[in-house]
């Protein structure tokens, strides 16, 4: 993860500019575990009059291998993605983690390789989903749901790599009946970290348990996050904690992807 502050400030891009077409990079976790988050992105974008192209040959951005110290394997998988998004349209990614991989790490990963230019070019038009809705589309949302309260978990990539906490909060703020409650240690990692969750399973579990406590302590009905890695980790932990039988409503406290929630709240 890059420690540099973001210099390519998306807010500086003219907000009137609305592309007619965009690519969707669904991410491997959304594809298998949370496809409704991906479909919600599509519905939200189409409602704004944007055509969404989903290359069927996409798989994974390569981050698991990259972060595990296998840059060659990461490059092989990343190369396969590069060719699929060659038209000059924005690439929308419903994950700050994967978007960060494209934007910040592809240029590093391909440095000195034949595809360096293609990787850098792709990096320049990758957007995290909330960032795109707010900074590029300047979207206006109409809340159609009942009053509810939420805790909001920003992934580490959302906070420190893509710096998209503001647009994310901006989107939720537009929903009139939704109250976002702050939790303690909001800046802290949920303990997912990809292969870290398995390689350092006990530390990861301790971090996840703490995050669940802090999120639930807000008294919110559910929590929202923009990254499915966190969701898999935290919902998995909550499931295990409340198994086998659910007796109290607070035990139904679970997380939802931001896109899924936004679509649910605003569909007519």
């Amino acid at each position: 993860m890059s420690t540099e502050r973001r210099t390519d400030n998306a807010a500086a891009r003219p907000t009137q500019y609305k592309p007619r077409q965009v690519y969707l990079f669904g991410t491997c976790l959304v594809d298998v575990f949370y496809p409704e988050a991906g479909m919600s992105v599509v519905h939200l974008l189409e409602r704004e009059g944007i055509q969404v192209i989903y290359p069927q040959d996409q798989t994974c951005c390569g981050q698991p291998a990259y972060n595990s110290g296998l840059p060659e394997a990461a490059r092989a998988v990343a190369s396969a993605q590069l060719a699929l998004f060659s038209d000059p349209w924005p690439v929308i990614v419903p994950s700050a983690s994967c978007a960060g991989m494209f934007r910040h790490h592809y240029p590093r990963l391909f440095k000195g390789h034949a595809q360096e230019h293609a990787a850098t070019e792709l990096a320049s038009r990758v957007y995290e989903f909330a960032e795109f809705l707010v900074d590029v589309l300047d979207i206006r949302l109409q809340d159609t749901g009942a009053p509810t309260s939420l805790a909001l978990h920003h992934s580490c990539s959302a906070q420190r790599e893509m710096e998209v906490t503001h647009p994310t909060e901006q989107l939720l703020k537009q929903l009139e009946q939704v109250t976002v409650l702050k939790h303690e240690y909001a800046h802290e990692c949920c303990g997912f970290g990809g292969t870290f969750a398995v390689k350092s399973d006990e530390i990861s579990a301790a971090m996840a348990a703490d995050k669940c406590v802090h999120l639930q302590a807000t008294g919110a009905e559910a929590f929202i996050t923009g990254d499915c890695g966190c969701l898999l980790n935290l919902n998995g932990t909550l499931d295990k904690q409340s198994a086998p039988k659910v007796t109290h409503p607070s035990e139904r406290f679970r997380g939802t992807h931001l896109a899924t929630f936004l679509w649910q709240r605003t569909r007519k």
Binding site: M39, T59, C60, V77, G193, F196, S200, E202, N235, K240
Partner: protein, 474 residues
């Protein structure tokens, strides 16, 4: 890295996580330190400006490191400081022993020095019949308990007041049990005071060595550093070669960053600037001052453009204070001189990837360390680099990946490079939910099995795009 050291690391992690008292001590202390630091940097833009300046000063110094070291040596020598070069830990220990033997020394009082921990000086000197006494209160506590520092700035941070009270009561003769912090500090100070006067040698670390003026800068809060460097007839300053900075003007911004990042202080109680031994006509100060410049693997880092950034470190400890892993397992779990993120990138370079490369596993790459670092060391990138170097066949002799891991990565690589195979397998996964085992290794110890959705996004999007095409053609 051997399977053995990986297992030992896992065991230490397991024990630390299960120790409620230890976890409370660390959580409380880290919250306190990060809170104090945050209060010192209320303006994010001002902090960013200062960090940029700090990073630039360190980068410039590292760019000219060999020249600056030579300049430092010349300046110090001309001012009467004797400069020694040590390539290894053993060499440094022998140089110190040589000085001690020449003075027929029996007792050495020590100010806080992590480099002395790095070379295991106390143990080495004890075997030679010379007693080393730690005079920093935290280090004194750790030494009394026969432990090692669990934090580079706060060595005894893993202990709470009651634990220290018990320790003093048990180990210092004629000491009543008290949990009064001031009384405890008073007890420790009394023991230390008696020893400053009788010590033959004072040893200290160095925070910054200024090449331009031949000045050794040392910050501390207890005055023990000043005692160590002025009361005994000999002062030995021990430092890694990376601590050199170019000029005196570089010091204020770095001190501003160091003390605020480390303990949330605008300035430490003592700032010692040492440029020479006692001069004729002066009433105090040591007769001899020695500076030992230790390499111990640092040249290797210097030779690599990316690893060189590790050497920018000013040892403030902010990376560990902000690390969610360190906060939970504490410093001892790492089993290394330097714990936390900086330790995870430094130790494998000092001790070799085989021995300490596994430290880099204990990181979720959350980036909190890099964000806190006052000199902008890209710690997450360097941790990833350790993982990469460990798996590179050229750099390591032992098996670092298990057979299972290797096969899983092989499968991952094939699947994610072959979209038709990937789609088939994910399609199958979505339809065979019931067949997915209820336990998936380590993941399911504390989490439920992640169940694939009934239809993948790939499938849903194919149907979605078909429907759109149909509705357009109607």
């Amino acid at each position: 890295m051997s399977q053995d050291s990986r297992d030992r690391f896992k065991v230490r992690i397991h024990e630390a996580l299960g120790d409620t008292e230890l976890r409370q001590n660390f959580r409380g202390a880290m919250d306190f330190l990060t809170g104090k630091r945050a209060a010192m940097f209320p303006d994010a833009d001002a902090l960013e400006k200062l960090r940029t300046q700090g990073a630039s000063i360190r980068k410039r110094a590292l760019a000219k490191l060999p020249d600056l070291l030579e300049q430092l040596e010349n300046r110090c020598t001309s001012q009467g400081i004797r400069v020694h070069w040590a390539e290894t830990a053993d060499e440094a220990n022998r140089i110190i022993l040589g000085i001690a033997q020449q003075r027929k020394a029996r007792l050495m009082v020590k100010g806080k020095s992590m480099v002395s921990e790095e070379i295991d000086l106390n143990h080495f000197m004890a075997l030679q019949g010379i007693r080393c006494l730690e005079s920093d209160m935290g280090e004194y506590i750790v030494q009394l308990a026969e432990e090692t520092p669990s934090h580079i700035i706060m060595p005894a941070i893993h202990k709470n007041t009651a634990q220290i009270a018990r320790l003093f009561h048990e180990r210092i003769p004629a000491t009543d049990y008290t949990e009064d912090v001031d009384a405890l500090i008073g007890i420790g100070r009394k023991v230390l005071r008696e020893n400053f006067a009788s010590a033959d040698i004072g040893l200290s670390g160095v925070n910054f060595a200024i090449a331009e003026t031949g000045t050794l800068c040392l910050v501390e809060n207890e005055g023990n550093g000043r005692m160590c460097t002025t009361v005994p007839p000999v002062h030995i300053a021990l430092t890694g070669i990376e601590k050199v900075i170019e000029k005196l003007d570089d010091l204020p911004p770095l001190l501003t960053l160091l003390t605020r990042s480390a303990t949330g202080q605008a300035i430490t109680t003592y700032v010692n600037m040492i440029s020479a031994p006692r001069q004729p006509g002066e009433k105090d100060g040591p007769e001899e001052v020695h500076l030992i410049l230790l390499d111990n693997g640092r040249s290797g880092m210097f030779a690599d453009a990316e690893l060189k950034e590790t050497l920018a470190c000013i040892r403030c400890g902010a990376c560990m204070n902000h690390c969610p892993v360190y906060t939970r397992i504490g410093g001892h779990a790492y089993g290394s001189t330097y714990p936390g993120p900086i330790g995870q990138v430094l130790m494998p370079r000092l001790n070799g990837l085989d021995k300490d490369g596994n430290l880099a596993d204990a990181c979720s790459l959350n980036g909190a360390c890099g964000e806190a670092c006052p000199v902008k060391i890209p710690l997450p990138d360097l941790i990833r680099r350790v993982r990469t170097d460990r798996l590179a066949p050229r750099t390591t002799s032992t098996r670092t990946q298990s057979w299972l891991e290797k096969q899983l990565w092989r499968a991952w690589l094939y699947l994610y490079q072959h979209p038709p195979a990937y789609r088939k397998l994910t399609w199958l996964g979505a339809r065979t939910q019931a067949l997915i085992p209820k336990r998936l290794g380590l993941w399911t110890k504390t989490r439920s099995v992640p169940l694939p959705a009934a239809e993948t996004l790939h499938e849903q999007m194919r149907q979605h795009q078909l429907r759109r095409r149909e509705s357009r053609s109607e």
